[in-house]
């Protein structure tokens, strides 16, 4: 059906004065309701006006985000199909199992927001456990055994592995957690910490916010070196003197086009995305939902994926996951 919608104008795509000429398909490689979907639906109204075309948000979940990326990879590079990302979430799945394409060949359009990973603790420990150092002490002393994370290959998996086994990290962090209990997302992790099934867990800032507001859990620190707008009062692990893990501790909401999309088209798309990010409706949405927003151009969007691959290859993340997860 998507093929039928493609424009067959031979000039489309390589003209410097390119303009969107038909409905734009915005692929979300995750389910409805997830962070990438939430960002897509947050910006879609402003983006529709900026593009002067309808935008059809299309969820293509599966394969750790690679199903949607595969769909984008095979689309015509004419500027009418774009995809959202949750970089670097899609990187480990490609490193663990070759999907038959390389996401580094996608053309970056922009980065439009970022979530960061935070450590949350059950309210029972408020006053006693206030910093990352305190959490580490609880695990190292044997008082706590477990921590809630997501599946092997997830950022939480990689961060906790690095802090215990990773070269260049383990020496500084020395985080001797015993059991890592796996959940399917930030929501279930926050629920498990609230109910006391695990004493602490790692979830995104915006994802844990409703549970923090409800009072069952509280945030202790963020793993993103620059802190988080959602919890401005909590320190980052780097503030506490630990090495930064920024290549894995933030989820960058990027927008990408298929490989070989002409520069003129990318330029036009990124300008319109920038216009949408400055729209007051998008800013209002950000204020209402607590999801941080900004604009970074194509270079930064390409660098987000490239840097994540580079760091993970250098740190031999695949070996680390296969050995310990």
């Amino acid at each position: 059906m998507a093929g039928c919608l493609q424009d067959d104008d031979p000039d489309a795509g390589d003209d410097e004065d390119w303009e969107p000429a038909e409905t734009i398909r915005y692929i979300v490689p995750y389910d409805e309701g997830g962070g990438t979907d939430v960002y897509a639906r947050g910006i879609v109204e402003s983006l529709t006006d900026a593009m002067d075309q309808d935008i059809q948000v299309d969820n293509v979940p599966g394969g750790g985000g690679l199903n949607g990326f595969g769909e984008l990879y095979g689309s015509d590079p004419d500027g009418h199909t774009i995809a959202g990302s949750a970089t670097p979430l899609e990187v480990p799945p490609q490193m663990l199992d070759d999907p038959g394409f390389d996401q580094r060949e996608l053309e970056g359009i922009a980065n439009i927001g970022r979530s960061t990973w935070c450590l949350i603790v059950n309210e029972e420990y408020e006053g006693e456990v206030e910093t990352f150092e305190d959490v580490r002490e609880m695990h190292n002393s044997g008082e706590w055994n477990s921590i809630g994370i997501q599946e092997p290959g997830s950022p939480q998996d990689i961060m906790t592995l690095l802090a215990k086994h990773g070269e260049g990290y383990a020496e500084e962090y020395d985080w001797q957690w015993e059991d890592r209990v796996q959940y399917t997302g930030t929501g279930p992790i926050a629920e498990a910490v609230t109910s006391g099934e695990v004493p602490c867990g790692i979830g995104t800032d915006a994802g844990t916010e409703p549970d923090v507001s409800a009072g069952g859990v509280y945030p202790v620190c963020t793993f993103w070196s620059e802190g988080t707008e959602v919890y401005p009062d909590i320190p980052s692990v780097t503030d506490e003197g630990y090495p930064d893990m920024d290549f894995i501790s933030g989820v960058t909401r990027g927008l990408y086009a298929p490989p070989d999309t002409p520069d003129g088209v990318i330029q036009e798309l990124t300008e319109r995305v920038e216009e949408a990010t400055q729209d007051e409706r998008y800013e209002e949405w950000s204020d209402d939902t607590g999801n941080p927003i900004f604009y970074e151009g194509p270079e930064e969007a390409n660098a987000s994926i490239d840097d994540a691959f580079e760091e993970m290859e250098e740190l031999e993340i695949v070996d680390l996951i296969e050995e310990h997860s």
Partner: protein, 499 residues
């Protein structure tokens, strides 16, 4: 918080848009329910992918309205042509059709409408009152309890499926196995994907539902030579029918409680509750009953039980993600598809959506009463719709719906393959509900089993420790008794007999 959420839910449910979806769903449900062989799971399964562009609350209200409408619609065909539109209306045929033959079709239809709507109305109020307590119950369930609850759901198949227990378990196990296709839930390894990227996410649960309910049911319907008994003239009095329900308040309320209670049990549904309510009424009225010959209480009992079953079955569906019936399995598919997560969130921060749903049920029953009573003189028209025309329409909608889900041709393949499998399962008396529950509960059981062992460090006593995990212990005992109780009972009786 609950009061604020209630009023927010009330304002959501009473917007013109939501009332329109509610009315549309009810009408669609009544028509689909009245068509022999279609019924609520089929109707909901084909509508489910079409709800993708809707807002989550509107989609869920539409689906629940179809469910509720079909419960009532099913009884029209049951009473007029002795062919229940839904399985849950099968018990209504026992006395409803004889009443029609006795010239009391209008009375029977009015009894069905009034009993169904009245108790649906009361059950919706009960749900609204119960929800603040439900959140406490849900929060008491951790990973081991969720695992055991899923196993309990599968075990209950042995009780609720008519026919062979072994066949029920085999069907459930097959569903369980199908659910293991795709990337494992808590490890990044693909299973049974044969290198096909389209299978990495497994067989889409909604595609499986469409295949099992819509596609298989249409094949079954096409294979049937004669659909119904001859039509009957619609005679009798609507007013007398309505007053009859109020003449038997105990029957009405008792049947409603039976319906709601059975609806709450994971794995059971209105087919069970209506027969239990009928049987209980027949048992308690042996002195003056003319059951099977057109006793009005034989219509009141199943009809008073069916709509409360909808309300009851929403409890395990919304609070634990464990559906109580085929229809709630489809509803669960809709809830997940629209990004809502059953569990504490639906009774906490999203309580307004849950309330909006319950309030819609409440309003829906008022509409059923109004529409149902108005429709009675024309009811036979619905049953005259040519089923052979509907079959190709449902099949096309099934294909289109399955493709719409993920733009994945594997989903369309799954609809066809599971449709054929479902057809042969029905023909050989293997329970489709058991199979679907296997698919739904499989991942819940696997994920929570795995996680429970991560919490306990691999110690299996987490499932049976009466001191630290009393709820797990009770659930384990219940599973043991359900699975082995019948064998142990026979053995104990034989032993006692010998002594």
């Amino acid at each position: 918080m609950a009061v604020d959420a209630f009023f927010e839910g009330l304002s959501i449910a009473t917007t013109p848009e939501m009332i329109m979806w509610l009315a549309l769903g009810l009408l669609l449900g009544i028509v689909l329910g009245a068509l022999p062989g279609i019924g609520s799971p089929v109707g909901m399964a084909i509508v489910l992918p079409l709800t993708l562009p809707l807002d989550a609350t509107a989609a869920i209200i539409l689906l629940v309205a179809i469910y509720s409408g079909a419960m009532f619609g099913g009884s029209i065909a049951a009473i007029l042509i002795n062919a229940p539109g839904t399985e849950s209306a099968a018990a209504t045929t026992l006395d409803g059709y004889p009443m029609s033959q006795n010239g009391l079709a209008k009375n029977a239809l009015a009894i069905a409408t009034t009993a169904s709507a009245l108790n649906g109305f009361l059950a919706a109020i009960a749900l609204i009152l119960l929800s603040p307590i439900l959140i406490e119950v849900v929060l008491a369930f951790g990973s081991p309890e969720y695992f055991l609850l899923a196993i309990l759901g599968i075990s209950l198949i042995t009780i609720v499926t008519q026919g062979s227990i072994v066949k029920g378990l085999v069907a459930g196990a097959l569903g369980f196995m199908i659910s293991t296709i795709g990337t494992a839930i808590l490890s990044p390894r693909p299973r049974y994907t044969f290198g096909q990227f389209g299978l990495y996410e497994g067989i889409d649960f909604v595609a499986a539902l469409i295949g099992m309910f819509a596609f298989a049911e249409m094949m079954k319907l096409a294979a049937r030579k004669k659909i119904s008994e001859g039509d009957v003239e619609i005679a009798g009095s609507v007013r007398d029918g309505i007053t009859t329900v109020f003449k038997y308040p105990v029957t009405t309320l008792k049947s409603g409680l039976i319906g709601m209670g059975i609806g709450m049990v994971p794995g059971s549904g209105a087919t069970t509750s209506t027969f239990v309510a009928y049987a209980e009424e027949a048992r308690s009225s042996t002195k003056d009953g003319r059951f099977g010959d057109g006793d009005p209480r034989g219509v009141i009992a199943p009809e008073a039980a069916n709509n409360p079953t909808v309300s009851g079955s929403l409890i395990p569906t919304l609070s634990f993600g464990i559906p109580g019936s085929g229809s709630t399995a489809v509803l669960l598919g809709g809830i997940l598809m629209h990004g809502l997560q059953p569990g504490p969130v639906l009774f906490g921060e999203q309580l307004q959506i849950t309330y909006a749903l319950f309030i819609s049920l409440f309003l829906g029953n008022i509409l059923i009463l109004l529409v149902g009573l108005t429709l009675i003189p024309y009811a036979s028209k619905i049953t005259e719709l040519d089923t052979t025309l509907i079959i190709p329409m449902v099949i096309v909608l099934s294909y289109a719906g399955a493709y719409t889900l993920n733009q994945n041709w594997w989903d369309v393949g799954a609809v066809i393959a599971l449709g054929i499998l479902g057809f042969y399962m029905v023909r050989n008396n293997y329970s489709i509900i058991a199979f679907v529950l296997g698919i739904v509960l499989g991942p819940i059981a696997e994920e929570n089993f795995f996680r429970s062992l991560q919490i306990s460090g691999g110690d299996y006593t987490i499932f049976i420790d009466p001191i630290n995990q009393p709820l797990s212990f009770l659930l384990s005992v219940a599973i043991f008794l359900i699975l082995f109780g019948p064998f142990l009972k026979g053995r104990v009786e034989r032993t006692l007999g010998r002594n």
